[in-house]
């Protein structure tokens, strides 16, 4: 197949891509990259992705990296069904929601960072959990407040249609639940997540459904 996704079941950025591809009904051949086995750092993988991270989407010989960039690429090349609003203000809002998660929450809490806290500061599990929870609370409270202030959310982050914003939100909520974070303060975000999980594109791609899940 000409489209190949390098993915790890628990990687929330890989989960974003799996949702986007399923939502647009785009088939792909999965390549499972085990982060615990450090398969993303071996030379053969770095040859195709010098960053040494997942996900990576290879499409028509082109290597695409960075999940939000890939989602927008897919939306531009396969516009139906859309994942971005048509107007600049709507797009700015959807990108802002996505980036609150993709630039302010996820980067601080992914496995490589938690591992580095252990390596540099000798952080034990309790300490890395506290770190995780701190940035979840900081990030999600800002996001809940942003949705309330902008008044553009409905069933989903942007009105009643799925966008990139929901695709970033749901994997982050999955991740926060895995770390047992209290999410009671974010009723809008939880309602949107619940609504998304009624849709096949989200339900059939979540971590526990994946062939590499353990």
């Amino acid at each position: 197949m000409s489209r190949q996704l390098y993915t790890f079941f628990r990687s929330s950025t890989s989960f974003r891509l799996r949702i986007a591809l399923a939502y647009k009904r785009l088939d792909y051949e999965p390549h499972y990259v085990s982060l615990p086995k450090m398969e993303h750092r071996v030379p053969s993988y770095r040859d195709i992705n010098p960053q040494g991270l997942v996900p990576l989407l290879v499409e028509g010989g082109r290597s695409l990296i960075q999940s939000m960039a890939i989602i927008e690429y897919l939306d531009e090349v396969y516009p139906d069904p859309p994942l971005m609003p048509k107007d600049p203000a709507g797009r700015a809002y959807v990108r802002a929601v996505s980036q609150i998660i993709g630039c302010e929450i996820h980067p601080l809490n992914n496995v490589r960072v938690l591992k580095h806290l252990k390596a540099q500061f000798g952080a034990d599990e309790a300490a890395t959990n506290a770190w995780y929870e701190h940035w979840i609370a900081e990030g999600l409270s800002g996001l809940e407040g942003y949705l309330a202030r902008e008044g553009m959310s409905g069933d989903f982050c942007y009105g009643n249609t799925v966008t990139m914003a929901d695709i970033c939100l749901v994997p982050q909520i999955f991740n926060a639940r895995r770390f047992n974070c209290s999410l009671d303060a974010y009723p809008k975000l939880l309602a949107i997540t619940d609504r998304c999980m009624t849709l096949d594109a989200f339900r059939t791609t979540e971590p526990s459904t994946q062939a590499d899940a353990f």
Copy 2:
């Protein structure tokens, strides 16, 4: 004036916005938000930006947050001169470069994170500098490798024209220099930075030129 930028001179995401506005010759009224004085956390600021971060661009009564989202908004509303390529593959590449910086480097190294390392782990200056340098080396080596692999860079990250990618790169290099990081391993990134700094939009907006600089 109807356009207002909430900025801090040393904030690299504020610097991104200053470059983009200058490049597009868009005037604005600056509002200086002192991060050391925690002016971004006071209620009057959080009322207009619940995230409590800079930059914030208020334009025609609309509050815009997240620097990369704002740059794309400006590019869509004021397309000349452009900051994004016309084709989806080019845009995917420019967004990927921007996000390598905006999602993998900057979030781990900004002031609130370094402060939190001190608060949670008692990190002293040497330890926060080591943390900073680790993520600079990790991120910039991946980025230098990505530019080499893709073969799309020229005078700038994307051929010979300024894009959002350069606007994300230059403030990150400024920041890395402030922390005395060795940058010898990234000749492409340094050459692009030098080229950018010959342009007024970059030179007239860098931190030391700002009215709030100290």
